[in-house]
Symmetry: C2
Subunit: 517 residues, 2 copies
């Protein structure tokens, strides 16, 4: 049985980053707690001090970085990021050991460097939202001693706020900054829009280094990261290629099956009680999810319905809806393409927020709590509606939690996924890894029809006898998938845990084990 944690059979050797035995995941319905926040140690600036440092090696020295410390980066530049590799090259060359790497996520462009640093003992612990490609394979093959900790974007904010992640030095790429550290991501050469993830690091890290290719006159506005949180500013040649922000998971689909799913997702939204003036939504990324925005636009116009806000992970089609007046406000933690990034500079109603505001489960209320409709993707869904977005059907790490667990809080959480992908079933009896619990999921949409969580009898009523929305049980969908691709060979694992999958409240929802060769 793979899902030990989710079944509440937790092992006492499973320890969180504070060395405490993990609490097993209990419920997505989080109770109110009293949390003692932590705060950084601040080296104060004398009146006449300067923050400009000539190069990355020099700034690493100035931060006081030591073996065993925790360093962070953000992933807003995604596959166009140049800063991670520049900084890690210096750190590796300077001979640091035993560091914890705690970025907001890891993109493919960072993989080889991380593997190299792990092999050299420079990095010995990792926490991230995602892990793909060569790094995913490396970790899944058991070559790291310490299990990776996988956290959602909201959970990372929570872990930083309570000290489970204590960032000693944050290295933050910014498209522009003045010489005193006022930075934003809407002006400069490599504009990426929202600095949502990075803002949490800037607030909580002891030492904050901004790395930019564009120094502006003082004071640089708008101010996404304020001078009061910044120790050093370093100018480099280039921080990244903004054309590659949209690479990977954010391409537009032309696949007829994906379009069919998108259309059905839109039918579900439009026929639900939530589709009314002032509703809110998050469409996210992934081929089908992006196409939903196009269908939704037409439905909104046809029904004269306007949205109060769109949330996310923002793409250009959503910004277009804002400009058309179909959305009142975009609440923006991250921009998934250059078009969305550029939108923020032009429209004050594209409001930047930080990761805690987006999804933090232990603050005074994140915006995901206010969300009506979310469309999320899945690598696998089981018949209890549990979702895997982290490992492939071969058990290897090749995904990211992102905001999945967090946004699944919405009143109507829709998983859009094809029944099968190639020769692999998407709807399965048993997941390789549980990431988001089935109790969060309301509807699963496939190309042949939908399944409704039995806990949502109200939705059953709303969608019955609607010819545009064929309703199945999950068992029926699973059987259909199995009929197409058959039953796969079970994956064989060793006993070694290679990754902990935390739920957004810091409990343990699953572990990923080493795949047998």
């Amino acid at each position: 049985m793979k899902r030990v944690i989710f079944m509440n059979k937790i092992e006492s050797t499973f320890k969180n980053s504070l060395g405490q035995t993990y609490e097993p995941f209990k419920t997505a319905d989080l109770e109110s707690l009293e949390i003692e926040r932590v705060a950084p140690k601040v080296k104060t600036m004398p009146t006449t001090g300067t923050k400009r440092v000539d190069d990355i090696q020099e700034v690493i020295k100035r931060t006081g970085l030591k073996d065993g410390m925790t360093i962070s980066f953000h992933h807003h530049l995604r596959e166009g990021d140049y800063v991670f590799n520049q900084v890690m090259t210096e750190i590796k060359n300077m001979g640091f050991k035993d560091l914890t790497l705690a970025p907001s996520s890891l993109t493919n462009v960072m993989n080889d460097m991380v593997v190299e640093c792990v092999k050299a003992g420079v990095i010995t612990s990792i926490t991230s939202s995602g892990m793909r490609g060569s790094l995913g394979e490396f970790v899944s093959s058991g070559q790291m001693e310490n299990p990776v900790i996988l956290r959602s974007h909201g959970n990372r904010a929570r872990a930083i706020e309570c000290g489970e992640i204590k960032i000693d030095v944050a290295f933050l790429a910014v498209p522009c900054s003045d010489d005193y550290g006022n930075a934003n991501a809407v002006n400069g050469k490599a504009v990426f829009g929202s600095l949502g993830y990075a803002r949490v690091d800037a607030q909580y890290a002891d030492k904050v280094v901004l790395i930019t290719d564009t120094i502006c006159g003082y004071p640089n506005t708008p101010i996404s990261i304020p001078q009061t949180q910044v120790d050093f500013v370093v100018k480099v040649e280039e921080i990244g290629n903004p054309d590659k922000i949209g690479a990977g998971a954010t391409r537009f689909t032309k696949d007829p099956k994906e379009l069919k799913i998108a259309e059905m997702v839109n039918n579900v939204i439009v026929n639900s009680e939530y589709f009314k003036d002032g509703f809110s939504f998050q469409t996210g990324t992934g081929g089908a999810a992006l196409a939903v925005t196009r269908y939704l636009r037409n439905s909104m116009i046809a029904n004269n319905v306007k949205a109060s806000f769109a949330l996310g992970g923002i793409t250009r089609p959503t910004v277009d809806l804002l400009e058309e007046g179909l959305i009142d406000t975009i609440v923006d933690v991250q921009d998934f393409d250059k078009g969305a990034a550029l939108g923020m500079a032009e429209n004050a109603k594209q409001q930047e927020i930080d990761a805690s505001f987006y999804a933090g489960p232990h603050n005074k209320g994140a915006v995901v709590n206010k969300l009506d409709v979310v469309i999320l993707s899945a690598l696998e869904i089981d018949t209890n509606f549990n979702v895997n977005v982290m490992t492939g059907s071969d058990g290897v790490l090749r995904g990211a939690i992102g905001g999945h667990q967090d946004a699944a809080n919405a009143k109507l959480t829709i998983i859009s996924a094809p029944l099968v992908r190639g020769r692999l079933a998407t709807i399965v009896n048993e997941l390789t890894t549980v990431v988001t619990p089935g109790e969060s999921i309301d509807v699963v949409v496939t190309e042949i029809g939908i399944a409704i969580n039995p806990a949502r009898q109200d939705l059953m009523e709303q969608f019955k006898n609607n010819p545009s929305i064929p309703v199945f049980t999950m068992a029926e969908l699973q059987a259909r998938a199995e009929k197409i691709v058959g039953v796969p060979e079970p994956i064989e694992y060793t006993d070694k845990v290679v990754a902990y999958v935390e739920y957004r409240d810091g409990s343990l929802i699953d572990v990923v084990k080493q795949v047998k060769e």
Copy 2:
């Protein structure tokens, strides 16, 4: 000898708010320190929770306020504030005792209520930036057991950041908020522009209550105070009268003497090395200071000089310069009139900042560190350039530190003041109270001419042989003042300390003693 502290003769009974013997003031040239920040205790919001509470009495109960706790308010609405009295009436009626009152400052409209609450034992400790009128007289007459602690705006931010002020419950008036606590002060009925002081309270208080007369649709943008920091939202009939923000210290002068001083201040600025393209300035309030902005405007146009930023305490004439293109950015912690407040809604270059960003001495660099020219007012200046803005010549509390100590960090700090006011000398041999140390002051401007701090030989060079800038020594100016009004009777004090005057780093620069009847 009155100035015991400033002369480094500190008494061990002088204790700061943490109960530690005060460090005596040493220097305005603050060294770099490592500071452990504190953080609030956060009651997390369950997914479906609500923040709306019907009335003030109910919200006081919900905050868990207890005897002995610390409560805070802001003074952005100045003499137009309705919220302080509404909240304190309920707190008094509910029978709370032994509270510490820690507002950003106290305006006259709050005075009678504070006196009443002190007499009733509801309030037993006060920290504030200022204290005037009936409250100043009450405290100066020795009727409070605990000395009041007087802090500059930057020092208050510092004290909150390090836990010297621990706010249990903040009651914050906002002109608009959505039902989840996203608030700003640029929309609504009682618009006051920047929420700069309140933002520090929202970040550090355990419980944050927003009090508004305008509930907006969710999400309310721009976001000055974010939902993640807010526990409760209460709607009242009216939070204040924005027409009275400008009352008091911010009127425009027609006094020929004040205009003469303003013209001379402008001559000093324009003839200094700092007056060049990209310079920065803070003019502040007070009759002459406001008029400076008008003269400066003409000089900027005539010399084709534009400012990079203006700082402060902002008034409408400064916003007009922004709109004319004579200033690139306004860095705005507080708006001193309705016109300035309304400006923020219209121009993204009128950038809201919080009090720590403005003036915090123990962060990673406040904007006052970047300031070229500041014009400050004074109740008294002594021949060593020390300045009193806190007590009258009768020794009674009737002023406010405001940002005086903080902004005096500028490269060219100008005190503008008449030689005498009525029958009282402004330039004196000995101050009733030292607030800002002479080492921070570069030039004193009066209606007959200026005095230059002997430490600034460079300025002596810049202003010599300039017929528009007659230069005197402070002794000469003092003698001229004395010749006009004579030597006043010395004030008689008891031994009772009624107020501690902290320097911006939390050291003690002076004490105010009870005035003998």
